[in-house]
Amino acid sequence: MTAFSTWDIVSNLLLAARWTVLLSLLAFVGGGVVGLVVLYARIARRAWLRRAAGLYIELFQGTPLLMQLFLIFFGLPLLGLDVSPWAAAFVSLTLWSSAFLAEIWRGCVESIPKGQWEASSSLAMSFVEQLRYVILPQSMRIAVPPTVGFSVQVVKGTALTSIIGFVELSKAATIITNATFEPFTVYGFAALIYFALCWPLSKSSQILERKLNVAHHHH
């Protein structure tokens, strides 16, 4: 039997962590784009759009991410679509984070005083113009800390994709454990790597929150 040095374990975990980072980034960006669309529907004037977006959000917030992964990974092939673990992981994390981001951002949009809507209405701006030039620039400032904070959830969420066979940090840890029979050491290092990824994110979220609160304004 080959002996594994600590460096063997750590270096292999770090290599796998690249995929965790990549998947997190893609899912976060994808979730952001889809989340904007859902946000738009969630605050639209048309009641059926608002309801549809509300349902979408409830659905993804009200079911475990793992079920969403399974449904996409095992469900889509039933419809004749062959999905790789990669694609399934990306799609489900994107949809999942879009629902949460849309809801976070809705709160930010609704925290903008009603007078801003009324003033821009009285200046003949359309709904989209109001959003783009008046409401979103102000709510974005408020949205930064909770959005960065949520990115931590996305990073941790990627761990679940190990179950459908996507080799990221958690899956790599399992594989290495099976070879080394040192679960505590291996998972300990894996946890440390997750922490090293997440801690700067949640810390910067806190710092941003404080900064934006103090400065509160532009200059």
Partner: protein, 241 residues
């Protein structure tokens, strides 16, 4: 011909009918003060004129633009009437100049250069040419309200609605705003204002509308309304009963 025609307008919030059939015709260049107790429907009426509230019955027409709930009609209407609010409602993320430039550029597709020139003229008009680059939170309440007036004027409206525009101001700041409004009135701007400034209403307005319980209770030139109130409600409101 009237610039603003308000005909049999009714409006309820739930069970509470706040406007019970309002009729009011406003000529171009007329300056009208709406007075009355809080809850008499005066602010609601003003907000209906530019579609911030929908109406249940009746009609409102401003220079041929009819109030209707769809975005196209609202836009046409709002291009004809501007509005100034009690709480100023400047856009806090933009400088005074940018506040004034935004809507002409976005709605009327005016070039940035033209919009800036117009904004400088308008800010000058309200005595704030030197505050072009100041953010709203660097301005006093009176200055903010004057920027709001400049912002509305930059859209070149035919009429301005003023909703208690001095009520949120410290007493010493009221006059600088009223002076701007007075100058507008003298230049022939059509003004429909809800106000508690009785002295100002008496000096500047052509007609005064006294609203009571959702109706136009008395209407007439300020000399008549203030000096010879006919109904006990108006007498009580003016404190001469």
């Amino acid at each position: 011909m009237s610039l603003i025609t308000i005909t049999e307008v009714r409006k309820s919030f739930g069970q509470n009918e706040v406007l019970k059939g309002i009729n009011l015709d406003i000529e171009p260049g007329e300056v009208i003060a709406i007075i009355g107790k809080s809850g008499s429907g005066k602010s609601t009426l003003l907000r209906c004129v530019n579609g911030l509230e929908t109406i249940d019955q009746g009609s409102i027409v401003v220079a041929g633009a009819q109030l209707a709930p769809d975005e196209l009609h609202l836009r046409a209407l709002r291009l004809k009437v501007g509005m100034i609010f009690q709480g100023f409602n400047l856009f806090p993320h933009l400088t005074a100049g940018r506040n004034v430039m935004l809507s002409p550029m976005v709605v009327k597709k005016v070039s940035a250069k033209e919009a800036e020139a117009e904004a400088r003229v308008r800010l000058e008009q309200v005595g704030l040419g030197h505050k072009f680059d100041a953010y709203p939170d660097q301005l006093s309440g009176g200055q903010q309200q004057r920027v709001a007036i400049a912002r509305a004027l930059a859209m070149k409206p035919l009429a301005l609605l003023c909703d208690e525009i001095t009520s949120a101001l410290d007493p010493e700041l009221v006059n600088e705003v009223l002076a701007v409004v007075k100058a507008l009135a003298e230049e022939g701007m059509t003004l429909l204002m809800v106000t508690h400034e009785m002295r100002f209403a008496r000096e500047v307005c052509d007609r005064v509308v006294f609203m009571h319980q959702g109706r136009v209770h008395e209407i007439g030139p300020p000399e008549d309304v203030f000096a010879h109130p006919r109904t006990p409600e108006l007498k009580q409101f003016l404190g001469v009963a």
